[in-house]
Symmetry: C2
Subunit: 210 residues, 2 copies
DNA sequence: TTTATACAGTAACATCAGTTACATAGTTTT
DNA sequence: AAAACTATGTAACTGATGTTACTGTATAAA
């Protein structure tokens, strides 16, 4: 666990902090597709992501979903922090996009580390900043762009996060993430294929030149 | 300034912190409509809002706007914090919605206070949490609701923030905030009037029963 | 007072996106 | 192999929203 931690967080945290994390943290491996947190959950520990990607979703009352952003190596969930500290319920759902490795740290330590470690303070603030930035980008995409452009952004981001030009999802699954209908996704994907930007197959598609 | 600070923040901060703020902070009064920060600005101090309201906007490349949320008494701008610490440019625009009073604190103190004052840490985290929450609510409104519902939410929130059932804006101004067109706003407002929920006038409207 | 400007009302139309319905083609189950 | 199921393709339609154009009216400027 120390090696993993140092590889991902060594450039951020002092050795003393790394040691503390090793002492109280628990190492976890999460399989792809596993629901790690749901809306309304109370959370008592904070994830430090070592590898893999976690997708963060928002849901309305009727169960309609929207993909907010992905967490990746070196990220943590600022929502979790905020929730833990304020004893609040989670406002989002987290699902492993790929197999993921992470270290869970009990929230009780957060207050202490924020006080004692400059590197931890920086990490936490940076994390908030990144998350707010991503929320703004998501908002921009939705407000200022139309579905065809949003779909392209979605495919690009998904390929980047998975490090794979093949997107292994059905049109229905993509529709859920973008909060639209399967027919709309099929229609737009077909257009992209006709433009030579992607190649469609059953259950997956390949990015050619987006 | 001490009285103002204590009235708005006395229940949050220890006396020692209040004293520090008084020493390094500068009191400011901002007139309604004043642009306090723009996208791309570098920021070197952080506002603690004492009275009034600040509207926070996002803008795309073409200059199209969208209202994100309002800051009110007891709020601070988490974006500013994040920007200051990371030496980043502002991602948002801030305009005084009403006359406002606030205390500007140099960012240089933030690191120190975060280390030394538990109440400051709580305040900062709470602030991030609130802002993320509001961003999510804004996103929800846009993704899950249609323009008529968004308009109603907008009018309610504006009335609450201004503490006034009379909304002193033209249809065009409302359209900018919601990122739609004047014609659409006029259309929907007229419907609301026909339902007896509002009363329309030139340059303003009155909420009757929303 | 006349003119110009800003604001609001409304009709007609275009477009994007969501819905319904059905066809076709793989895949899995029996 | 037949049946059932799942994913995709596509047409036809609907509805919400954005656009253009023109009107009337209140307000401000000349």
């Amino acid at each position: 666990m120390i090696q993993e931690l140092k590889a991902s967080y060594g450039h951020l945290f002092e050795d003393a902090l790394i040691n503390e994390i090793v002492q109280v943290g628990t190492y976890k491996e999460i399989p792809e597709g596993h629901k790690m947190m749901d809306i309304g959950d109370y959370v008592k520990s904070m994830p430090l992501l070592i590898s893999g990607a976690i997708k963060i979703l928002r849901e309305d009352n009727e169960g309609d979903e929207l993909l907010l952003y992905y967490l990746e190596k070196g990220d943590t969930c600022s929502m979790t922090m905020a929730c833990c500290l304020g004893q609040q319920k989670s406002m989002i759902r987290a699902i492993a996009e790929t197999d993921a490795k992470l270290i869970m740290v009990p929230v009780t330590k957060m207050e202490e580390w924020t006080k004692n470690y400059k590197s931890w303070r920086n990490f936490v603030f940076e994390s908030y900043h990144n998350r707010i930035n991503e929320l703004l980008t998501t908002l921009d995409n939705i407000v200022f762009y139309q579905m065809d452009e949003r779909l392209i952004q979605y495919l690009k981001e998904k390929a980047r996060v998975n490090n794979d030009d093949i997107i292994k999802n059905t049109h229905q699954e993509i529709a859920y993430d973008l909060h639209t209908s399967r027919v709309v996704v099929s229609r737009l994907l077909k257009k992209l294929e006709q433009l030579g930007k992607i190649k469609l197959h059953r259950n997956y598609l390949k990015i050619v030149n987006l």
